[in-house]
Subunit: 146 residues, 2 copies
Amino acid sequence: MPEINLKFFISDAQYSALDSCYEFFRKEIKMKIVKYTDIEPVEFNNEVAMGIKARILIGKNDGAENFCMRIFKIAENGYTPRHTHEWEHEMFIHSGRGEVLDGNEWRPVSPGTAIFIPGNVEHQIKNSGSEPLVMLCIIPSGVPEL
Amino acid sequence: MPEINLKFFISDAQYSALDSCYEFFRKEIKMKIVKYTDIEPVEFNNEVAMGIKARILIGKNDGAENFCMRIFKIAENGYTPRHTHEWEHEMFIHSGRGEVLDGNEWRPVSPGTAIFIPGNVEHQIKNSGSEPLVMLCIIPSGVPEL
């Protein structure tokens, strides 16, 4: 591709003004406090992932460099995909009742249950109650946030 | 220090038996499902950290390599230390009512609130309700788990 070089000469005052603009638009990493219900969900509703409302609570757009907190609300009879991937999950059940596939066994989970799914371990979560199942799922950075 | 060299000659069967022992004791990283109330808490109850029951839900002992999930139950009138450190927190309020210090302002939090505290930002959380404040707090690996 042809290359174009542009050169500008600006005054100190102009330079200072540009620098202020840059400061203004530079992403400031600050404390974030948000109610999950105030975030617009992304919905998944198909054979693979049924009745899911997914939200990123804290992620790379907030300046979170090491891990990402998501929350999933799974409707009655809903479920997440049965799948395997290299990265781990750290989950926590906030409300509702469900079951987690551990090998060939479905194990019950309820509010206050923490679940560690190591990388490369097949997993699936389903709602087995009559209320929505609301659960946190934290993943390392560098993989898709949703 | 003086050095001692020991050499053993063992049969193939003995070698195989030793190898099986090694396999048995090698740490297997597998799925973990635990109710937080089934974990014995570490208590903090002093001027700096008042009325705190702390539990590690998922950490390095479980094979979690990237981040550590803890849960804190803060009694009525209790609070965490007002402090600053290099690493971030990703928090989530499971139950109860509280306030988070954000600069000079105390901001209310309640069940379903997520809180991102970037590294090097001063913070403190207090229970401002009449029930225990139960909150998750996830930290990156490589810093003290409690």
